[in-house]
Amino acid sequence: MRALLEVVLLELKALSRSRTAILLLVASVLWMLVLPRLIVGDGTFAGARELYVRYSLGGVFALTLISLLASACGSVARERTEKRLMLTLVRPVRHTLVALGKIAAHVFLGAIVLGVSSVVLALKDDVSRPCSHVLSPLMPSPAEEAERMYEEYMKSPRTPEAIRKAKKAEVIKLLEQRAIDRYDTIATNETAVWTFSSGGERVRMRFTNQFEMRQEIRGVFASGENQLSVSNQTQSVAVFDFRSNGELKFTNRGKSSLMLRPRRDLNILSRADSFGWNLLRAYLQLVAVLSMVLSFGVLLSCGLGRPVALFTAFAMLLVAEMGPSVVEQYPSSMDMSRADRVGLAITKTAAAVTRPVSALSPLEALSKDECIEFTPLVLTMALDLVLLPILLSLLSSLVLVRKVEGRG
């Protein structure tokens, strides 16, 4: 433990005496203070607030991630090429602790920068403002729905031959995406019914029509005895006493059919705790993600020279950022050339590996006052803040042994 602490302290001294720490801190606080003057919102206080919450902490997170990743990529590589690492490795200290110490120091600095920025955000905002749990309607999972649709397709004589010949997994993947994006159409005077696991005070929905154009929305929400008429003005969020009788009904009283994707566009919002607590949860989640990315940086630094490690790390970040949208755009490799299929397979693999980074969006939830739920937060922290850094440190130590074994 003492050795680990020494490695952490050494790295923190390196970061502070090279002025990385102070520059990062000053830049972050400046960003937090200057950003409100730069935001051009939609003219509403809520809109400007949402933008500020998302981009203030988002900007600081991006800045911290990039600077500390650059530093982590050089941390071991620099010491190895300058042969200082050798003097550490001949001491009675396990190589894993050296890697873990480097990770811990970078995460510690990142946590301080994000912490200070979060405090600035808390001071500029109302921490007592409530946030909400977000519930989706109870429906079969997209995979279950896809399986059912597949069986129906195969029974139908109208199904094209190309789909019959395609691999089942590929068709299922397409159908899964279709299930997620599936629209329910509610004709005039028709009533749609959805079931939820528990109740709430507000219904959030986003109707559309087949031309994605604004249209008149007029209808009635009903849950048990309670009813609420909604119109265009209330279509975003309707405050409604929705009890847990399991059912929410909507009757379309407008002149034309309405459409909505129940998996994406319909939620029940129930009172959770405050923005202050949500900010704390978002902070913890950001630190956890930072920890995972920096652990990769240190691992790369153990095996590669600084420039190569930097290039690899940023290429991985780019793939992590772009991968999901590529996969969403091209969900299937059907009707593709061989080269495109290879490219898509690589992107899909990279996206799957880096999904833990790209799938987390605490800032979106925070800016919309949606509660960051406890269970996924704990899982993220256990995985990204504890398990992965330890595993990657073990891997780093193995890489380090092989690297030190080299001719140099």
Binding site: R2, T88, R91, P92, E405
Partner: protein
Amino acid sequence: MEAESVIELKEVRKTFRDFWLRPTVEAVRGLSLEIKRGEVFGLLGPNGSGKSTTIRMILGLLQPSAGSVRLFGLSPRSVEARQKLGYLPELSYLHPFLTARETLEYYGGLSGLSRRETTSRAVELLKMVGLQDVGSRAVGGFSKGMSRRLALASSLIGKPELLILDEPTSGLDPISTKEVKTLVKALAAGGMTVLMTSHLLADAEDICDRVMIVNHGLAVAEGKVAELGTSLESFFLAKVGNPEEFQLAEFLKS
């Protein structure tokens, strides 16, 4: 009673390989040696003879391709063996942003000393190497001699039983060289085992009890300095010297 073996190498070989695992250099070719507790042992040889590779295998930084290396009867990679080890590399390799005191505290912490013990030992060692007045200065501003003395102090911070010195007097002025030699002799007199490499044969002759001369990865001679019957330099040249390799006079004439 025979003294305990501190370092034991048996038929050690080290072959470096390229990316495709093809052998490139056979740096050490079946080297055996044994160093007993309290000995001051000199590993001598020309450049490229395999001294550094041997030292790195003893330090646990390299795995031998064949044969065995034991430190205090343990694997050199074990934490227990490294607990008893102090190492001074050929160049100092200190962290330039740390002060002299912080450098000693860092290595003391890594060696498993308590904070209080590290602090008192750092003061003691800084005094011993004559750097007590510059303990708060950043190492980046130190002269080569000062860095060397601090590196020596760092190698001693963990109270090692075995001290490995790679060219300990390199870069030192004559006075500092003499001080280092006196210090090594004092440490050896206190029971510390010392393994050193040096190009300066006079230094080795002054300090070492026993020497081994290696060339092309093989031990070509081994013996006690007191029993050589000639100067170490003459002995060395007789074993590895090859004047035909040095064509300087011919080159200058041409």
